[in-house]
């Protein structure tokens, strides 16, 4: 059901755009944001100066060809890093563009002073009211103030089945670019042009407004620290070599320096960040900031609504239990009559079950002689008054009990036992009364979504606690909670209960996420560290949350958590890999530096590289090509496995730490074999 937006990693037009950007990003002002790559660029300029120096007659710096090759390899190193960032940006932008297309100029039927005027969608401002009829493209994000319509949202969500949107309630929001299929709605514009979520998202993937996230800043500090160490190491090598009476050419200092500083992670860092946002977008989640995606990886607690998330849609009637002394078929018939006018899914399922049991509508039943009693929040019951004066009511236990008690009727013991039984089995009992006398119970059962247990299991392994929020009574809630495998539940929840729960968790230092769609969810969405609003939700909900899920899929939170974790893991593993690489590079370059003055140091040349020049060239080439080789990993992210933190650490240390030590030994040796053919 999810739209698959799988684009190949190296799509031609994206690559072309990225190539162009790689050169534009050479501008030191832009590159300065990335201290590691900036120092590489400085090294490149130094090498260019050395080449010119040689042309002017300097003899002690090695051959021009050798120095030029170092210069070009360094330049390519910077370009590779720029390319990685540019490609990530291009992919994000392409993603955003495909969404942006949906909001190109469309005519809008503006309703002003009672007359309809057709203007361009770009002229709509916040507060304007427009009309959409069957076949119209909705020109802007907004909220329905009048009417009901079926809407095709496939342009945004990829979901082909049309959805129903209506005024009032929590399904009143419409998105620009979607298409009205039937009926007519009156919509008020809720966002200024250029300020919709989509616009914000587009701005985010475009580098200009991309702020470094807190975690990215810390990592940049770490990497700058490593860069500084190697500035010290390379700078002090100069007096050391003077003391050791060794001449070291500039190219060797620059090469040593560039190889040692963490260029791999430095070059890929911003690409990883952008790719994380992009992955969220691919999952049809629009994040308002990179920070919220990162926070998602740290979540401790997730609040999930029961209905639609843990259970499929609504409850269904599964059994009729008449009270003692009540005829079963008469009871079922009463239930059927009482539900005829009930338009709720529960009501319909009662009719359905009664029909299955062979009960039909009595012959003398005609609609003229009856009065329908609608469900209200106060009475918490509904029912019917027949022409003969019979009053049938069905509703929650305490509501019907009150009706019976007010009339002086007792509540039958066996019915009460039945209620408990139903509740403890996870069902919801609906008590039915006839003329204020309890006549029996209808059992409604929830159906838990297939596969949901595994998902919660996965979350538990990640260390995330799941909390089910439901309006059910505690017994029912407990049963479903256990069956679905959530860790905790809030029963008989009022909107403010979510808020209280979130606050309580946050006081304990936890990060909490919730998903919501209604206006009454807005405060809790704002309070939560990650608030995911459904795209179908009200404007208030979308404004309060920091992510919007275009699919309206409540289980999306799980994916969001994984995307956040992946983002951090990719940074961590590539940092480890990058630093571990240095070991081999030292063994390649240091013996090469002192080959003439300290021949004994040749025993450190454990890779047995052909000669000092090929050794240095191989190390620098390896350093450059490892960046594009790791672009796919940076963009796709390291796979997250919920196997517990310690196991995960061991695994990643083994793969990226030990691998990071071993790979360059092999790589540099291979490159040396090839390079030595030419030198």
């Amino acid at each position: 059901m999810k739209r698959q937006r799988k684009t190949p990693l190296f799509q031609r037009d994206l690559v072309n755009e990225a190539l162009k950007q790689s050169f534009i990003k050479l501008n030191p002002k832009i590159l300065f944001r990335n201290p590691v790559m900036f120092t590489v660029e400085v090294g490149t300029v130094v090498m260019l100066a050395v080449c010119i120096w040689i042309l002017m007659g300097e003899r002690d710096q090695g051959s021009l060809a050798y120095n030029l090759s170092i210069f070009f390899i360094l330049l390519i190193t910077v370009l590779f890093a720029n390319f990685a960032e540019a490609l990530a940006e291009a992919r994000g932008k392409a993603q955003a563009d495909s969404l942006r297309k949906t909001r190109e100029e469309t005519p809008a039927k503006l309703l002003a002073n009672g007359t309809v005027k057709t203007i361009s969608s770009s002229q709509l401002t916040k507060g304007n009211i427009f009309i959409c009829e069957a076949g119209d493209i909705i020109p802007s994000d907004g909220e329905i103030i009048e009417g009901i319509a079926t809407i095709d949202e496939s342009a945004i969500t990829g979901e082909s089945a049309p959805v129903i949107r209506e005024s009032g309630g929590d399904k009143s929001s419409v998105t620009g670019g979607t298409k009205v299929l039937s009926d007519k709605i009156k919509v008020v514009v809720t966002t200024q042009p250029g300020e919709s979520f989509l616009d914000k998202m587009i701005a985010l993937v475009e580098n200009a407004s991309r702020q470094k996230t807190p975690n990215e800043i810390s990592l940049t500090i770490l990497l700058s620290g490593f860069t500084l160490i190697f500035i010290i190491v390379c700078a002090t090598l100069q007096p050391f070599s003077l003391y050791a009476k060794t001449h070291i050419p500039v190219s060797a200092y620059v090469s040593l320096f560039v190889c040692l500083i963490p260029t791999t992670i430095g070059g890929l860092l911003s690409a990883i960040g952008i790719a994380g946002m992009d992955r969220a977008l691919r999952a049809n989640v629009i994040a308002k900031s990179g920070k919220s995606v990162e926070t998602a990886g740290d979540l401790d607690t997730i609040l999930l609504d029961k209905t639609g998330t843990i259970t499929i849609g609504n409850r269904k009637a599964t059994g009729f239990y008449p009270a003692n002394g009540v005829n079963e078929s008469a009871f079922i018939q009463n239930c059927l009559i009482a539900s005829l006018a009930d338009e709720t899914p529960e009501g319909k399922s009662i009719v359905e079950l009664a029909n299955q049991k062979g009960t039909t509508i009595p012959v003398d039943f005609s609609k003229e002689k009856i009065t329908l009693i609608k469900f209200t929040a106060e009475t918490r019951s509904s029912g019917i008054n027949l022409s003969d004066g019979t009053r049938i009511r069905k509703g929650a236990f305490d509501a019907i009990k009150k009706i019976a008690a007010d009339a002086g009727n007792s509540f039958p013991k066996e019915t009460e036992d039945r209620l408990k039984e139903i509740s403890s089995n996870g069902g919801t009992p609906l008590v039915v009364s006839e003329n204020e006398r309890i006549i029996g119970v209808i059992e409604l059962q929830d159906i838990i979504k297939p596969g949901i247990q595994e998902r919660f299991q996965r979350l538990r392994k990640m260390g995330v606690k799941t909390v089910m929020v439901t309006g059910d009574n505690p017994l029912t809630a407990k049963y479903i909670a256990e069956k679905a495998g959530v860790d905790d539940f809030i029963a008989e929840a009022k909107p403010e209960d979510k808020m209280i729960y979130i606050r309580k968790e946050q006081q304990g230092g936890k990060l909490v996420a919730m998903m919501g769609d209604g206006t009454n969810d807005a405060p809790a969405l704002a309070q939560a560290d990650v608030g995911v609003a459904m795209n179908s939700g009200t404007a208030a909900a979308k404004e309060a949350g920091n992510m919007v899920d275009l699919d309206n899929d409540p289980t999306k939170l799980i994916e969001v958590v994984e995307i956040g974790k992946q983002l951090l893991m990719t940074r961590g593993t590539l940092t480890t890999f990058s630093i571990a690489n240095d070991v081999a590079k030292y063994f390649a370059i240091v013996p090469a530096l002192f080959i003439t003055s300290i021949p004994a140091l040749q025993s450190l040349n454990i890779m047995n590289l052909s000669n000092p020049q090929t050794a240095i060239l191989s190390a620098v080439i390896f350093n450059a090509i490892i960046i594009p080789l790791l672009i796919p990993l940076a963009l796709k992210g390291v796979a997250y496995r919920p196997i517990g933190a310690s196991k995960l650490l061991r695994r990643n240390l083994l793969v990226y730490g030990l691998g990071g030590v071993a790979v360059p030994f092999v790589g540099i040796k291979l490159i040396d074999l090839i390079v030595s053919l030419f030198v």
Binding site: L222, T236, D300
Partner: protein
């Protein structure tokens, strides 16, 4: 098995057993619980507090603690300068030793205040008994200050959100009177019974067998030797330190002194476990430190016991090991064991000449000081290790997909900045000053600072700054070290390398303590596991190796490979 090996193993095992018990006791002292010495020493503590008008119960935040630390040190520094430059005419100078010139006094006082004890003088002729007593006092103070700083960090690592981290002066006084004083007392008495002098009388005159008259230096040595070992100070009473029979008369005293060197540093790690009730964390730290320690110790033992290949080539039997610069009564194993123990712990006392170690086993003590966190100095060793933990936590935390947390506190940009600065400082000081010295020697090879040319001379310079920056105080020797250049530059290095690495970890711990405590979940990176221990170990090895590889390659490695 070789008796020499049995000797060093028994020293180590005894150290561990005693350190474990001492750790329990230190945890009690730090958490303010009652200890058996309270009836005797409480009046003494209270006297200090009353005179100085300090309320030991008023708690300080991390900034106030650091102000207290610096205040104590500045006062004693000025006082020390005064004594060193005037002791010639002050009392308690039976041997009529002279006062120090300013550059040497600066070096000496900084050296003792900073727990380094680099001595560019000889105790027999360079200082009066008053001077020795003042230096002894500094040995207590600097060790106590280090332990008090560690206590502040311990307190900050508790599972809660807090601003106030106990009273620094209280930790300081308690560290001195409850831990250092009683232990020193025991060790000093053992040394006295084995022949170490403890007197205020001047030189003794002895007529030798040949009939010559010999002057023998004496003095209050036993007391100083005890605290020099226990407080990881290392500054000996005599110039040749613990290789002199008066400081270290026999194998038994050698064992006692060697145990004293790393007793408190190891005990502090166990103390952390008892104090925080996180024994697994303490075992992780101990495990990493020990693994690193053994990596340095085992090759050094084997190289020194294997003898000098150059001498072997000349046809001289090396079966008793490399004996150059060593004392017959200790032998190569106990000497090598001491060399590593004294350098990993920032102690710096010696019982053999490190200059005479074989090239590669000369490198291992240097590595020990360059890491400076394998057990480390009293208090400060743990603080250095804390920096490595923070860096490891950050990288490992990312690798498991969470914002890095250490003991329930998020590690963010500010902490990373401090941790990186502190980590950078050590290579910066060592490499830049060694570079400066190399450059000046390159320009003026005739300067009398360096007596050995070539790789070995380079190792000597590298060792001198490494030792200063690690606040170790041992010398490779071979340098003309009592010259203004070495006195002043080493003094500067010691000062910076002492105080910034205390300020940094205390600041990080203080900032973390103020943050919200996040309970652990199964997604949290646990820091008390073997996997995390491997991570920390890898971070230490890679970072230190990357920082010092070039320098080591040009010094000891080049010398070894050219052998």
């Amino acid at each position: 098995m070789n008796t020499e090996i049995i000797g060093v193993i028994s020293i180590y095992v005894l150290t561990l057993a005693l350190a474990y018990l001492l750790g329990k006791y230190i945890a009690k002292v730090f958490s303010g619980e009652k200890t058996f010495l309270d009836p005797v020493l409480n009046p003494l503590d209270n006297l200090f507090f009353r005179i100085s008008k300090i309320d030991p119960l008023s708690e300080m935040d991390w900034k106030e603690s650091l102000v207290a630390l610096l205040t104590v040190n500045i006062v004693w520094f000025l006082f020390g300068m005064l004594v060193m430059m005037n002791m010639g005419w002050l009392p308690l100078n039976p041997d009529e030793n002279p006062s120090m010139p300013a550059d040497q006094a600066f070096n000496t006082v900084v050296s003792f205040v900073s727990n380094t004890n680099l001595q560019h003088y000889s105790g027999e002729t360079g200082v009066s008994y008053l001077g020795q007593l003042i230096l002894q006092l500094f040995q207590f103070i600097s060790a106590g200050a280090g332990m008090a700083a560690a206590a502040v960090v311990f307190n900050a690592m508790k599972e809660r959100t807090a601003d106030k981290l106990g009273n620094f002066y209280n930790y300081f006084i308690k560290s001195c009177t409850r831990i250092l004083l009683p232990l020193s007392f025991i060790v000093a008495i053992i040394l006295m019974f084995n022949g170490t002098p403890m007197t205020f009388l001047g030189k003794d005159q002895v007529i030798t067998m040949q009939g010559d008259t010999m002057n023998v230096s004496r003095g209050p040595a036993a007391a100083m030797v005890a605290i020099k070992q226990l407080g990881t100070n290392g500054g000996g009473f005599y110039g040749a330190n613990s290789s002199v029979p008066f400081e270290n008369p026999n194998y038994f005293t050698n064992m006692i002194e060697n145990i004293s060197i790393d007793l408190i540093p190891i005990a502090l790690v166990f103390a952390l476990g008892f104090y925080l009730r996180r024994k697994k964390l303490a075992w992780m730290i101990f495990g990493v430190m020990t693994a690193g320690y053994l990596c340095l110790l085992i090759p050094t033992l084997s190289l020194e016991m294997g003898g000098n290949p150059m001498i072997a080539k000349m046809g001289i039997d090396q079966s008793s090991g490399s004996m150059e610069g060593k004392e017959i009564r200790f032998g190569p194993a106990a000497s090598a064991f001491w060399a590593i123990t004294t350098t990993v712990t920032s102690n710096g006392s010696v019982n053999s000449m490190h200059d005479s170690l074989t090239p590669l086993s000369g490198m291992f003590p240097m590595l020990g000081m360059q890491i400076n966190a394998l057990y480390g100095g009293v208090g400060v060793g743990f603080l250095n290790f804390y920096i490595f933990i923070i860096i490891a936590v950050f990288i490992a935390g990312l690798m498991v997909g969470r914002t890095p947390e250490f003991l329930g506190k998020k590690v963010e940009a500010k902490e990373m900045k401090i941790a990186m600065i502190i980590f950078l400082l050590h290579p910066l000081l060592i490499l830049v000053f060694t570079g400066l010295a190399s450059y000046i020697i390159h320009l003026h090879p005739e300067y009398p600072w360096l007596n050995n040319p070539g790789y070995h001379g380079f190792s000597e310079m590298l060792y001198e700054y490494t030792s200063s920056s690690a606040n170790n105080g041992s010398g490779f020797e071979g340098l003309g070290d009592n010259t203004p250049w070495w006195n002043v530059t080493c003094g500067i290095v010691m000062l910076i390398a002492r105080f910034l690495p205390i300020i940094g970890p205390v600041a990080i711990a203080g900032i973390l303590a103020k943050k919200k405590y996040i309970p652990e979940s199964s997604g949290t990176l646990r820091t008390d596991t073997a996997s995390f221990g491997i991570m920390v170990f890898a971070v230490i090895v890679i970072l230190v190796a990357l920082s010092f590889f070039t320098a080591l390659a040009l010094g000891p490695l080049a010398e070894y490979l050219s052998m």
